[in-house]
C-alpha cells in the first residue's frame, strides 16, 4: 500500500472520528483509509499506477509503463515537452506523399542549444571511444559554463570541445589538443582560447600533463610491446627529471623517448610514424631526440634487452 509523501497531506477530507490522523492511500482500490479505525474516507481516487501489467520476460525494448524518454534532470531542468511523432498508417500522409503534421513542434527552446551541444559532445567522444564518465563530466562542465553566460559569444562547439579536453584532463587521462582537434571542427587555436577562458570562468585549474599520460596510448597505436612501452616511459621520465629537455612540450619528449626505445629494441619505428600518431612534426622529434641522445645510456633501465646496443643508436 502506498503512503502519501506530500507535505499537504490532508487533502480535503479527514476521518470524522480521528481528525488528526494522516490518511493512508490505497491506490489499487482508489481509497483513502484512516489507519486508526479503518474507515474509508475518500472514494474514487485516481489511480496513478501502471496502465497495464508488464511481465519481466517481455522484450526489454518496449516498456509499456513508461510514458516518456529517460529524464535527464541533472542537465535539462525539465524535459516535459510533447512531440508529434512520424505517422505510421496511410492516413498520416496527404496527397503528395508528404506527411501531415510535419512540424515536430519545437521542444524546450530554452535548452535547445544545450541539448544540441550534448549531442555534439557525445558524437565527439564516440569518435575517440571515451567512456561514459568523461562524457558526463563534460556535460556537467558545459552546463556550468552555459549557465554562467560569460562565454556567451563563443561558438558552442568550441566550448564543447574545450570542455571535453578539460574533462579528460580532470579524469587523469589527458588527450592532446591535436587529438581533440581531430574529432572536432574547431581549430586548435580556438579550443585553446576557450580552454583558458573556461578555466577562468569556472575558477578551476588543471594538473600539468606528464609524459607518462600518453605512453600507453601512443605505444599501443604503434603496436609496440610492453617492454618497449615501459622503457620509453622510463626514458621520458628520466629525461624530464634530469631536465635535459627544458621548454619542450611533454608530447615531443614522449615521442622522442618512444623513438629511442623502439630503435633500441627489435620493433623499430620511424620518426614519421611516431610523429603521425603523436601529432608531432618529425623535425620536432629530431630536435628532442638530439637533446636526449648524449645521455642515452643513463636513460634506459638497467634490465633492458637491447636489440641494437646503445652506441649503435641512430644519431640524427
Amino acid at each position: 500500500m502506498a503512503s502519501t509523501s506530500r507535505l499537504d497531506v490532508l487533502p480535503r477530507v479527514t476521518c470524522p472520528n480521528h481528525p488528526d490522523s494522516i490518511l493512508v492511500e490505497d491506490y489499487r482500490a482508489g481509497d483513502m483509509i484512516c489507519p486508526e479505525c479503518g474507515l474509508v474516507v475518500g472514494d474514487r481516487v485516481i489511480d496513478v499506477g501502471s496502465e497495464w501489467r508488464t511481465f519481466s520476460n517481455d522484450k526489454a525494448t518496449k516498456d509499456p509503463s513508461r510514458v516518456g524518454d529517460t529524464q535527464n534532470p541533472l542537465l535539462n531542468d525539465g524535459d516535459l515537452t510533447t512531440m508529434i511523432g512520424k505517422g505510421t498508417g496511410a492516413a498520416s500522409f496527404d496527397e503528395f506523399g508528404n506527411s501531415k503534421y510535419q512540424n515536430r513542434r519545437t521542444m524546450s527552446s530554452s535548452d535547445r542549444a544545450m541539448m544540441n551541444a550534448f549531442k555534439e559532445i557525445t558524437n565527439m567522444a564516440d569518435r575517440i571511444n571515451l567512456p561514459r564518465n568523461i562524457v558526463d563530466r563534460t556535460n556537467n562542465l558545459f552546463k556550468q559554463v552555459y549557465e554562467q553566460k560569460s562565454l556567451k559569444g563563443r561558438s558552442n562547439d568550441a566550448i564543447a570541445s574545450a570542455c571535453l579536453y578539460i574533462a579528460c584532463r580532470q579524469e587523469g587521462v589527458p588527450r592532446t589538443f591535436k587529438e581533440i582537434c581531430a574529432v572536432s571542427r574547431i581549430s586548435k587555436k580556438e579550443i585553446g582560447r576557450c580552454f583558458k577562458l573556461i578555466l577562468k570562468a569556472l575558477e578551476t585549474s588543471v594538473d600539468l600533463i606528464t609524459t607518462g599520460d600518453f605512453m600507453s596510448r601512443f605505444c599501443s597505436n604503434l603496436g609496440l610491446p610492453k617492454q618497449v612501452q615501459m622503457a620509453a616511459t622510463h626514458i621520458a621520465r628520466k629525461a624530464v627529471e634530469l631536465d635535459l629537455v627544458p621548454g619542450r612540450s611533454p608530447i615531443s619528449v614522449a615521442a622522442a623517448a618512444i623513438y629511442m626505445a623502439s630503435q633500441a629494441s627489435a620493433e623499430k619505428r620511424t620518426q614519421k610514424e611516431i610523429g603521425d600518431i603523436a601529432g608531432v612534426a618529425d623535425v620536432t622529434i629530431r630536435q628532442s631526440y638530439r637533446l636526449i641522445y648524449p645521455r642515452a645510456p643513463d636513460l634506459f633501465t638497467a634490465d633492458f634487452k637491447f636489440d641494437t646496443p646503445v652506441d649503435k643508436l641512430p644519431q640524427l
Binding site: I209, P246, G247, R248
Partner: protein
C-alpha cells in the same frame, strides 16, 4: 637563499603604446595624399604614419583618435605623439593635443639563471598558468598591478603592464618566486 637585489637586472623597455586625441575630425584622404610616410588602409578606415626620429608608428582614425606604438620610453612616446600632432597641424587641421595616455608598456628582462617551469607553476598555482602544448612560457598575472609576465625556461621574462612603474615592480615581485625555482648549475 637570499634573493639578489634587482639592481643588477636590467629591464629593457621594448615598446610603449599610447593614445591621444586631436579634438577635430581628420580627413584621411587628405592625409594620405599630402602626408609623408603614410599608408592608407581604406578598407579598415585608418592611416598609418611612420616617424623616423623617435621611431614610431601611429594609427590615425578619422574621428581624431590616434594610437602611437613603437616608442622605447614614456617620454619618447610623448615626444613622438607631439611631433605627430604637429605634422597633422602642418597639413592644415586644427589639432589640439589632448588626452595623452600611455596604455601599454612591454619590457624584456633576462635572469642570469634558467628556470624550471613545472616546479614554478606548482608553487604559484592560481596566478601562474602553463600550457606547454599552447605556448612554451608560463603566463603569470599580477592582478593588483594589472601586469602580465611571460616566463620562459631560458630565464628571459617578458612583462606587459599599464606603465613603466608597474612593470618595474612586477619584476621585483616575481624575482623571489623565480629565484626559488631556478635551475642550479652543478
Amino acid at each position: 637563499m637570499d634573493a639578489d637585489s634587482d639592481v643588477a637586472l636590467d629591464i629593457l623597455i621594448t615598446n610603449v603604446v599610447c593614445v591621444f586625441r586631436t579634438r577635430c575630425h581628420l580627413n584621411l584622404r587628405k592625409i594620405a595624399l599630402e602626408g609623408a610616410n603614410v599608408i592608407y588602409k581604406r578598407d579598415v578606415g585608418k592611416v598609418l604614419m611612420k616617424l623616423r626620429k623617435p621611431r614610431i608608428t601611429a594609427t590615425i582614425w578619422s574621428s581624431g583618435k590616434v594610437i602611437c606604438t613603437g616608442a622605447t620610453s614614456e617620454e619618447e612616446a610623448k615626444l613622438g605623439a607631439r611631433r605627430l600632432a604637429r605634422s597633422l597641424q602642418k597639413l592644415g587641421f586644427q589639432v589640439i593635443f589632448t588626452d595623452f595616455k600611455v596604455v601599454n608598456v612591454l619590457a624584456v628582462c633576462n635572469m642570469p639563471f634558467e628556470i624550471r617551469l613545472p616546479e614554478f607553476t606548482k608553487n604559484n598555482r592560481p596566478h601562474a598558468s602553463y600550457e606547454p602544448e599552447l605556448h612554451p612560457a608560463v603566463c603569470y598575472r599580477i592582478k593588483s598591478l594589472k601586469a602580465t609576465l611571460q616566463i620562459f625556461s631560458t630565464g628571459s621574462i617578458t612583462v606587459t603592464g599599464p606603465n613603466v612603474k608597474a612593470v618595474a615592480s612586477a619584476v621585483e615581485q616575481i624575482y623571489p618566486f623565480v629565484f626559488e625555482s631556478r635551475k642550479q648549475i652543478l
